[in-house]
Amino acid sequence: MMNHVNSTLRRIAPQLVILAGVLLLNFLVFPDFFRIEFQHGRLFGNLIDVLNRGAPTALLCIGMTLVIATRGIDLSVGAVMAIAGAVAAALVVDGHSWQVALLGALCAGALCGAWNGVLVAVLRIQPIVATLVLMVAGRGIAQLVTEGTILTFVNPGLVHLGSGTVVGIPTPILIWLGLGLIVTAVVRKTALGMLIEAIGINESSSRLAGINSRVLIISVYLISGFCAALAGVIVAADIKGADANNAGLWLELDAILAVVIGGNSLLGGRFSIIASLLGALIIQSVNSVILLSGMPPEFNLVIKALIIIAILVIQSPTVKHALYILRASADPLPPGSIKEAKESPQ
């Protein structure tokens, strides 16, 4: 047990360090950054904002981590968010209860995910292209539901999901934390995680070992669609309206980035959802630096790009390897290479 915690900690150490670094940067540009108050029945502060605003990316990256572990990618999550938000809004506007709306949205998301999964697993279309189809068409479907308008609603139950609080903590934070824990538990307490990794590493071997790769691949896309739907509902609930055109726009890139910053390989295989979630928080903290710094908006992208490049360079296998050598050279034992065949020439 202790062992397990230890190895998890070791796995996510780089992400923790980077997160601490970016939060420190926040503190430097805005000294009140770490102040948290209890105001108007809710926790209030920049740190809470990071957790709260990180919710959509965090939710997306839960599903995305699993998809990427199977060597896939899901570009459609942003569009699925729009669809789910539109469905939820349309349902409450039609007079249904928020529970029905939530259920409807989640079903829509899962359906989208299943569609992607079928394209990838059954029709064997490459993941990027398969999900590109829904990425392009999905926003259209969402607009079809809202008929191009921003569909606003007032249903307090649904609104609560986006901007409400439970014992002072914003609901979105609880949702992503909860879902993250549940999925992690399901994946690690059963054999699901290992089987998904096996498929990602060598699908042909896995299939010959009797793994039902088709069903597993469909399910990871389904989970991804489900997570996206939840994110979509939250985003819509947050602004009390479904904005089919802009909800989740380009968020798929942030989700993928989060997974990579979480140290997961885009080539599939070993994965850690917790590390991805930390990745999502890191991205949100970067956004927070940009907002708090008060720089003119035309510098936003350059700043974001530079911070991300710095993070990725620190995380890159080569730099890690160099650090390892540096540390190991202090040891009496001869330094070995950690990877076979991957050593950089010179």
Partner: protein
């Protein structure tokens, strides 16, 4: 014979844009015009492609809502050579004016100026720190509305913009950015919000409410477009002013076109639409009811 007109629309990136599309389609239907609609998904290259395709099809006229002012010379020349009149909607272009028949637009800088002037009048010399929610970085409404606003408040030392960040013209970004303004500046230190469109203002109103402040009172809110939801907010006293950008650009455009086709009357090069200021003195509930079915 029936007129066939091509309409190259930018996209459907905002409620206002959707309303413009709806109104244009309605106006065409009213006049018995066969409207070919092409949505460019926010891309200029798609608009150019659409115009070229309209020319290849031999439509009778083209309505163009250009996504950006530059880069139209070549394709407009092709339309002129094919003797197809082009009318610009809601934005003009940087091309010689013999390349199009007329432009039906509002004045974006003027809109910003009206918003600024309203704030100048409203504060009446009292000190006021303003936060600004810009439109999508680089888009011409964002640039022009900023310019106009700054022109209007220039010389009024009581008015200063303390924070300005982009909210991408969307509600959710409007809310997120407003949240960060509230934390970074402190809600009590903000006296007014100027948002480049109503959607961002609607998002910001929610952020202000969640921070425990009263939008419209603690923080005055002025924005542009006059979409139904801002009127609803104004009816509730949560926003203070909006400047209308009418979605009906096609009406005047088609009037001009029909006159031209009937007896060759050449319209003026610029048909300016009104930038009407709505404040709490108007019957906002009635305006909301009137506008809410226009497809915003």
């Amino acid at each position: 014979a029936d007129l066939t007109i091509g309409f190259s629309q930018i996209g459907s990136e905002s409620g206002w844009r959707a309303a413009e599309t709806t109104v244009t389609k309605q106006e065409a239907e009213k006049r018995g015009i066969n409207l070919k609609f092409a949505d460019a998904q926010q891309k200029q290259e798609n608009q150019i492609k659409a115009i070229r395709s309209f020319v290849a099809q031999g439509v009778d006229a083209i309505l163009l809502a250009p996504v950006v002012a530059t880069g139209w010379d070549n394709v407009l020349e092709e339309a002129r050579d094919a003797e197809i009149p082009v009318i610009l909607l809601d934005r003009t272009v940087d091309a010689p004016d013999d390349l199009y028949m007329t432009a039906v637009t509002s004045d974006l800088v003027h809109e910003g100026r009206v918003a600024g002037q309203w704030l100048v009048d409203e504060t009446a010399g009292a000190k006021c720190d303003i936060v600004e929610l810009q439109g999508t970085t680089g888009s011409s409404p964002a640039i022009d509305r900023k310019t106009g606003f700054e022109e209007a408040i220039a010389g009024h030392d009581n008015l200063t913009i303390v924070r300005s960040q982009t909210g991408d013209f969307t509600r959710s970004q409007g809310k997120v950015v407003m949240e960060s303004f509230l934390k970074a500046v402190g809600g009590e230190n903000i006296c007014a919000l100027y948002a480049h469109n109503d959607d961002m203002a609607v998002g910001a109103i929610q952020a202000i409410k969640e921070a425990g402040l009263k939008p419209g009172e603690d923080i005055k809110i002025v924005s542009i477009d006059s979409v139904p939801d801002i009127h609803l907010a104004m009816a509730n006293g949560e926003a203070n002013a909006t400047i209308e950008l009418t979605p009906n650009m096609a009406g005047p455009a088609l009037d001009a076109l029909e006159a031209y086709l009937a007896d060759g009357t050449t319209p003026p090069k610029w048909i300016q639409t009104e930038s009407k200021l709505y404040t709490l003195n108007d019957d906002n509930m009635a305006i909301y009811e009137m506008k809410k079915d226009l497809g915003y």
